[in-house]
Subunit: 621 residues, 2 copies
Amino acid sequence: MSTPPVERARSIATVCLSGSLEDKLTAASAAGFDGVEIFENDLIASAATPERIRAQCADLGLAIDLYQPFRDFEAVPRDVLRANLRRAEHKFDLMARLGADLALVCSSVSPEAVDDDDLAAEQLHDLAELAAGRGIRICYEALAWGRFVDTYERAWRIVRRADHPALGVCLDSFHILSRGGDPTTIRTIPAEKLFFLQLADAPRMNMDLLQWSRHHRLFPGQGEFDLAGFLGAVLAAGYAGPLSLEVFNDVFRQADPGPAAVDAMRSLLALEEAAVPAGPVVGGRSLPEPPELAGPAFVELGADAGAGERLGSTLAALGFRPAGRHRSKPVRLWEQGDARILVNTGPDRPEHRGGGALAAIGVHSADPRAATRRAEGLLAPVLPRSARPDEADLSSVAAPDGTALFFCRTGADRDASWLGDFDPEPGGTAGAGVTGIDHVAMTQPFDHFDEAILFYRSVLGLDPEPPVEFAAPFGLVRSRLVLDPGGTVRLALDSAVLRRGSWAPAVPNPQHVALSTDDVFATARAVRELGAPVVAIPDNYYDDLDARLELDPELAARLRECSVLYDRDARGEYLHFSVAVPGSRVFFEVVQRVGGYRGRGEHNTPVRMAAHRRRRLATGS
Amino acid sequence: MSTPPVERARSIATVCLSGSLEDKLTAASAAGFDGVEIFENDLIASAATPERIRAQCADLGLAIDLYQPFRDFEAVPRDVLRANLRRAEHKFDLMARLGADLALVCSSVSPEAVDDDDLAAEQLHDLAELAAGRGIRICYEALAWGRFVDTYERAWRIVRRADHPALGVCLDSFHILSRGGDPTTIRTIPAEKLFFLQLADAPRMNMDLLQWSRHHRLFPGQGEFDLAGFLGAVLAAGYAGPLSLEVFNDVFRQADPGPAAVDAMRSLLALEEAAVPAGPVVGGRSLPEPPELAGPAFVELGADAGAGERLGSTLAALGFRPAGRHRSKPVRLWEQGDARILVNTGPDRPEHRGGGALAAIGVHSADPRAATRRAEGLLAPVLPRSARPDEADLSSVAAPDGTALFFCRTGADRDASWLGDFDPEPGGTAGAGVTGIDHVAMTQPFDHFDEAILFYRSVLGLDPEPPVEFAAPFGLVRSRLVLDPGGTVRLALDSAVLRRGSWAPAVPNPQHVALSTDDVFATARAVRELGAPVVAIPDNYYDDLDARLELDPELAARLRECSVLYDRDARGEYLHFSVAVPGSRVFFEVVQRVGGYRGRGEHNTPVRMAAHRRRRLATGS
């Protein structure tokens, strides 16, 4: 017998978001949070009285789940205790005005504290007694870098010893997992003593715990911690309070709080799905399973008329044939093998009026309606439909960078699918050996990199590979591949490690469609004959390749001749070349995988980027 | 008898700079470097043949001092050695084409290497023999994270054991100092075995050595390593090769390489000055000593006519009196106590045409001509003079953010000084108790923060305080105070920790002039009566102050009444309030120091910034 799904309260600490306290509360409410943790500094800088903040929260439907942090309280000499209790009384006054009834006390880092758990327990008992008189409860949290108390096990021992009904523990996934703590023993803590739970993910980093925590926390699912296991352990222990996010992150601290709060909520829903068998419940509804994907259905490029022409010529030179015109929209379908590319010259989005950019990706999925419902449940904005009654009813959602994501039914016959909206065009060239779409690479806007990883991970059920970093000619680039379990849909997401300034490439956020072939050299020769502008790779690259890999001389010569880049790993080989589209943000790659090669030639990217830039400088495009 | 000053060769690794190899070489030459280390990846991505790069370097007057890095060579099984020697031969071919005769081999991180110094020595001997046959020498460097060889002492033991004239060591300050290595034993290495020296500074960080090295290195003088001591030890050991910079830094990797190369050269000159008694020699000339400063002479604000009016009204409301008009320029002098502020409504710089911004700082110095020669020697751009024959011949140099820096003679009488260029205006108000200029705070453009620290440190001989970081409402801010030994000139330099995007304050790089007073409350009341727009600080701040510091109730009440912010440290107290200038990038602070307080109320900055933003939103300015 399975327990019925429960809708849990979801909360967010105001410190996760940028702006004034008012900005933060508005964003949290709009994203559907039920409550907030008020971070003290946000309140101190606010001109709103505590009563006004209380009223604003009530208007926005937000509970004030926690007031935090109260620092450096326990295990101190008498005179310091007196001052600390006075300080606490002031904060309890404030909490009464705010209508908050739970305060967080984090373990001391003060040089005045002593290593004495009995004294800590005794003083926390006094504090809890003071709080209880005001209807306030205290949760005690072990900071990972606490001077003496730095594990939740020790914090719990002190709380148990203090033995006061108004005193419990606060668990924070970062403080526990960053130190390699074991969450399974959380079950030894009685449920009624688990007062609060803070959730944060992080990339695995070997650095000072405090700096790691203050700068690099991430929302669940964006980092490398096992948060599903952690949350599972906490829920198994009987915790029934809010699931609350506390994420200190340099990027989120300065990003628009609206999308950041949506990202945060999505992370919680995805985490609940991973941690709880019944999955999350939102507004009384549970979330459909991740879709079963069966590869890309199409890639749509947006362009103005002139750029559309250039994209068309490039596609023709790549061996694509014009296969259909949309019945009601200025969209043309290009086909080669299983690769389908739409060129949309409609004025849908202003950024496409220029030289051409990715507008949409369509993926084959077994149940498009369920996939869309899932995306909606995960707060992906559903895009307006503009199909005529006789056209396929395709629904799509917007990814964080604005790219539309379409779900197309796997194996649908032409009439029932989106292909039926195109009037077929007969004839066309014989092709250049392109068999399908290997992956789509999208440079993400700086503020949205981690959000994008989580978006595709949660909405499409893709798994992220570990991040890689490389030194591009104009700065470091971080890159991460996300792909479905079957490896049919592969998206490469890149972003600059630091937001770029004026000394930056002309095309700040390039995108490309990587087309697959079974014979990269045959395709290279074919497209060259068709006039495709293959990006020239310099001899220096091939000299180094030869020095490093001692390739078969015939292979080496063919790579050099065809400007094909080369990589290999323990499982196989990767051969790839690029074709530029003058003036466009988007370009094409043709790739051949040999054996079980997993990557996408990341190490060659700086060479390709430098070659691209030379081409643009030389052609003025 | 002191040795005559020597002009040492100065070199820079291409990896320090952004762009293509051609961009990097051009920038290095323009900044006056004598040579470069060619970083292999830069060459591999370049379309120029090695012969062409050699010719470009020759044209630019750059020696190719080093080709690097050659990785994972030594202490490997026979078959791996064979492949490694083949790889080396390819690179020696390349070096012959480049005209480079020194290659860097860094200690292995390969899983194929074994822990056997004899084997390493034997194989490095073989490599050196191969190199020597081609007229090439090898320098061996211990990476701080080398698998077995991670100290220079061990690298030297292997080199000594290998005993080949074409094999020596390369010392890298980062690899040594990041591990807390002791440079004094460098003197045990014979001078002729010290083949190369790489210099890099870094902030003190407790993190993975490789990540620290790859992302956070800085040019000497920008970080916290004792590079003067390190260089002194290397020179004492008899090293006579180039002083070469090798800095991997996320910001420099994406900044305009022209200014970055100048910054790099300045760092070397300042380091030589600190390490070598005779100081650096540039173009046959040595550098004048750092100037003796005696406080700020003036601050000049640039504005268009309308903003000039508003600045004037604000200054009047602050108790300044209009004290003079420049004889030939649209500049007005405002005076109060020792504080002198010029308002320049000339169209000198486009960015000042708006609401007003800092244009120049004048400092009193004992020998302005020597100070300017020093600034020139340190590559500060000397600004064109526009004085008429009867006017003071003031010379100025440009700081990295474009602010002009003037040197004014200390104690010069009015006729001989810049004040003589102003026609005095009689009369004016009695003042509001401002006694002088406490400090000037300048938010630096993101790419120029570390450069600015080094600029003021070297040109003015100021000492930087340790950096502080605080959470402003729109993101983290890093801040560092630089001041002269006498504490007469204090400059606060701030910058966002991450470059900001569209969700950012309306005034991205605010600046302010902090005026000193002996009685902040008297001044606050006086300026309020004069109509100054004092920035209102919310009650929440004062409630927290009371909770934290248990202030004397009378003091607490006066702070609250006057919107005065408060801080204290072990040495004293700091009381300060702000006055806005509508529509301006610049604003004013009035500050009172009590006792030996050293800071500038950094902890209050987020509260002040939030208050400023509310004011701007409320007044629409």
